[in-house]
């Protein structure tokens, strides 16, 4: 089973970093499967559209799917989510979208802010051998904005902050660049974070002749390809007069960064 309309029970909210929380849910009813990079739509009180959230994990225990998300409080919907209590019910649907491909060979993961969630899921879900060949870089502006998940140690994450208050000083991309310069690695890049970071990852990938898989973020009314609202401009190589856009929700959210016309995307960004 791939998709389901569901009701989930909030099992708990845990503070993760300044303004960020981990929410754990149990899905009532039949449990579908989900993979890293996929997302769920949650209907939150006080806002009209459901809100998309990437899965931090997904596990079927005692016949019920359990999942967690890492979220930042940025507006009305996420404020409402933060104010909920264990036991509260939330409606939604999913899992949705195309996730990250299974790791094969050297893979470097680049996370900005809550973008670390699906990348940790991807790392955890991959075979031990694949985990050996993967690295994760995780950056934020300040130490208090980094979520110190115990898994970061397990995967020997490289942390960065702009002010040097934790890990290396600078952007997460500075760290990736330095590591690429240091050795002869030719990894595939997996990225999730603000659109500006994804664009920078794309340029780095082009510059170094690497492949980058990025998770696109845009408002998503339906999340399943029927409203055509989450259009992303296609790069010239793929665009035609008849097809100039792909849908972030059904052709993504994870897609090869080379498919996107980043200049146009930046002009359209909100």
């Amino acid at each position: 089973m791939a998709w389901t309309r569901f009701q989930v029970r909030l099992l708990g909210l845990t503070p993760a970093a300044e303004g960020q929380y981990v929410a754990e849910f149990r899905l009532q009813g039949p449990a579908p499967d989900a993979s890293p990079g996929q997302f769920v739509q949650l209907s939150l009180p006080g806002v009209f559209w459901p809100r998309p959230f990437s899965l931090l994990d997904w596990e079927v225990r005692d016949g019920a799917a359990h999942f967690r998300i890492l979220f930042a409080v940025v507006g009305e919907g996420t404020r409402a989510l933060r104010s909920m209590s264990a036991g509260d019910l939330v409606e939604g649907h999913g899992p949705l979208g195309l996730g990250y491909p299974a790791i094969e060979g050297p893979t470097w993961m680049i996370a900005g802010g809550y973008g670390v969630a699906p990348l940790l899921f991807a790392l955890r879900a991959s075979a031990p051998g694949a985990q050996q060949s993967a690295r994760i870089f995780y950056g934020a502006a300040r130490a208090d904005l980094l979520w110190r998940s115990p898994e970061l140690d397990r995967f020997a994450a490289t942390l960065t902050t702009m002010d040097g208050s934790a890990g290396r000083r600078g952007t997460v991309l500075d760290a990736v660049r330095a590591e690429l310069d240091a050795g002869g690695a030719r990894p595939v890049l997996y990225a999730c974070g603000p659109m500006g970071l994804l664009e920078a990852v794309h340029h780095l990938a082009v510059e170094r002749g690497l492949r980058a898989m990025v998770s696109i973020e845009t408002p998503m009314p339906c999340g399943m390809g029927v409203c055509r609202g989450c259009a992303v401009p296609l790069a010239a190589a793929e665009a035609t007069d008849e097809k100039r856009y792909v849908m972030a929700c059904e052709d993504g959210p994870v897609m090869d960064s080379a498919r996107v016309d980043w200049e146009q995307e930046r002009a359209c960004r909100i």
């Binding site: 009209f48 029927v226 609202g229 259009a231 008849e242």
Partner: protein, 318 residues
């Protein structure tokens, strides 16, 4: 599934399982939602508007959330008539009726040409003419706001098709009844109303007007009272049946439109909140009818009354 008989309703020569159809542009071409919304539990669906040639649609941002609804300027993104015929129609053919193909165009001949190509095809029961494409209007002139051009477009299609013909009306007008009459005169078998209302949002980060063309179509519960008023007016003024559209979120909303005279309704934006359509499917409708003591949809139709404008004489109160 509950007993569907009390839910069924007549639309022209057709008997719909329930009054609920899925609105154009909100359910793909139909098959996309069939996996999560059992089509036997609703009355049918209307496809995304198809144009003669494919359209890539508008640049992002195409959508904007608003109080009680949303603005969209999708720009009629669609695969075009050729690919509709070769790829979409075979899938639509496998779904249960009532299946409606929505057609869009810039001039009467665009609609007529498409209707002609579709007339010999089976696998659908009706055509709906999307006469108002506010976000793709060329030169600012929207065909659907001019009764003469509406009459002309409907008539041109009527001459080319034997299919049940629905004219979808725009609310962006002084006089929706004039548009409805024009459609009727042109030979429409039914009218549907309403399409979206023109609106603009503001993005404060960039100080730009939203969505991308600077305005878009408003939909969702925010427009329901406007839609109800127009449907009520149209159903009293026209001979042909009226299909009510606008902000329908649940079974009670469906019944409100039927009470206001609608022979069927369409549900659009609500599908983005719940693509399974649970709140408008047969079971929900049946449940609401029990609560409201409505015997059948058919018997409810058109019974909305105006409140008496005269207060009872004082004597009567004593």
């Amino acid at each position: 599934m509950p007993d569907l008989a009390p839910l069924s309703i007549s639309l022209g020569p057709f008997r719909l399982r329930t009054p609920v159809l899925l609105a154009s542009g909100c359910c793909g071409y139909g098959p996309e939602l069939a996996g999560c919304l059992p089509m036997e539990e609703i009355g049918g669906f209307v496809t995304k508007t198809v144009t003669l040639r494919p359209r890539p649609g508008n640049p992002p941002p195409r959508v904007r959330e608003t109080a009680g609804g949303m603005l969209n300027s999708i720009g009629l993104e669609n695969v075009g008539l050729e690919r509709f015929l070769s790829e979409k129609l075979p899938q639509i053919r496998r779904l249960p009726p009532f299946r409606v193909v929505s057609l869009g165009g810039y001039q009467a001949s665009d609609y007529a040409e498409q209707a002609g190509r579709l007339d010999g095809q089976d696998g659908f029961e009706a055509l709906e003419l999307n006469l108002s494409c506010p976000n793709v209007a060329q030169g600012g002139l929207d065909l659907g706001t001019d009764p003469a051009r509406v009459r002309e477009a409907v008539r041109a299609v009527r001459e080319r098709t034997g299919k049940f013909l629905i004219a979808k009306l725009t609310p962006n007008t002084q006089d929706v009844v004039a548009l409805g009459r024009a459609a009727e005169e042109g030979g429409a078998d039914a009218v549907s109303a309403i399409n979206t209302l023109v609106g603009t949002g503001v993005d404060w980060h960039t100080r730009t007007a939203m969505p991308s063309p600077g305005s878009g179509g408003l939909s969702g519960p925010a427009i329901r009272p406007v839609a109800l008023a127009m449907v009520w007016k149209l159903s009293r003024a026209l001979q042909v049946p009226v299909i009510g559209i606008g902000g329908i979120m649940d079974a009670r909303d469906v019944l409100e439109f039927v009470l206001a005279g609608a022979s069927a309704v369409q549900v659009g934006t609500a599908l983005f909140l719940d693509p399974s359509g649970a709140r408008v499917r047969a079971a929900a409708l049946r449940g609401e009818m029990d609560i409201l003591r409505v015997g059948s949809c058919e018997s409810l139709r058109g019974n909305l009354e105006k409140r008496s404008t005269h207060a009872p004489p004082r004597e009567a109160l004593r």
